[in-house]
């Protein structure tokens, strides 16, 4: 079954994919720094009228839960917020782009969070991307 990105169903399937990824379990086992929010910027041309936030409650190599929220205000409680356009997130979800590299290129922005911590967990970030590629995804375009 395919899940539309972004959607509540997709982020729920993403949680399952993260928890099924042994690589993430190992690389993220020391992560105790709180939830990570992925924010897709509003893009009326594809029906995204307000920014969409997907919060991953990751802790010690496990995704304990997810939240799907409309509007940037809904993610403010997350200690780490990464923002990008739909096309940029699509590249990440397809495994064509690494989030750290995308940040260096200015394609994704760490809007909130401690950058040295993100860099220390670079392999964990990679495994989150690997997990995303395992979700059967239907894109808006």
């Amino acid at each position: 079954m395919e899940y539309e990105f972004p959607s509540e169903e997709w982020v729920s399937a993403y949680k399952d994919a993260v928890n099924a990824n042994e690589g993430y379990r190992k690389a993220g086992k020391d992560w105790t720094f709180g939830a990570v929010a992925m924010v897709v910027e509003a893009d009326a041309s594809i029906g995204i009228e307000k920014a969409i936030g997907m919060i991953l409650d990751v802790h010690e190599g496990v995704c304990r839960g997810t939240k799907y929220v409309l509007g940037i205000d809904g993610v403010e409680s997350a200690p780490f917020i990464i923002v990008g356009s739909y096309d940029r997130w699509k590249e990440v979800v397809e495994g064509k782009s690494d989030p750290i590299k995308a940040m260096m290129q200015g394609k994704l922005k760490l809007q909130k969070g401690h950058l040295p911590t993100i860099l220390r967990f670079v392999e964990s970030n990679r495994q989150l991307v690997v997990s995303a590629t395992h979700v059967a995804t239907r894109f808006k375009k």
């Binding site: 260096m104 290129q105 200015g106 994704l108 922005k109 950058l115 040295p116 860099l119 670079v122």
Partner: protein, 140 residues
């Protein structure tokens, strides 16, 4: 203390490195001594994503420019992976030199010896390079 030049607007790597250095100095105030003694220009060229920046240090002040700015004292050319690994290099406690026992330090040395990282001008500016390494590394 750290500012982005107008030519760095929209340069994600410039923003990232500025934030990394600012957070590093906040987390490790002992690095401030090295930061205050840094004077010189270092260009970082990320060859796999075609992005470059120039760090202009002036004894306690840093301006980050987008692209190559002026005549850098040192130019480091490397992949995005290796540039980021430089910030993870392990340091010998108290001494502050790269620790050859550390995984990331070994990977950087190996990439440098293998020609994957080019450091033009580094040998002529060793104090500058060592201080940059200490200030940039997220480790003590």
């Amino acid at each position: 203390m750290i500012q982005l030049a107008t030519d760095a607007e929209g340069n994600g790597f410039a923003t990232m490195l500025s934030e990394l250095l600012a957070q590093n100095l906040a987390d490790h105030p002992e690095k401030r001594r090295d930061f205050d003694r840094l004077t010189g220009r270092i260009a970082l060229v990320v060859d796999d994503i075609d992005v470059s920046i120039t760090l202009c240090f002036e004894a306690g002040r840093l301006t980050v420019h987008g692209g190559i700015y002026g005549m850098p004292d040192v130019t480091i050319t490397a992949s995005s992976d290796d540039i980021m690994k430089m910030s993870l290099m392990e340091l010998v406690p108290k001494v502050g030199l790269p620790d050859p026992r550390g995984q990331f330090t070994r990977e950087i040395f190996s990439a440098s010896q293998g020609g994957k990282i080019h450091m033009h001008g580094a040998l002529l500016h060793m104090p500058l390079m060592l201080r940059l390494t200490r200030v940039m590394s997220i480790n003590r």
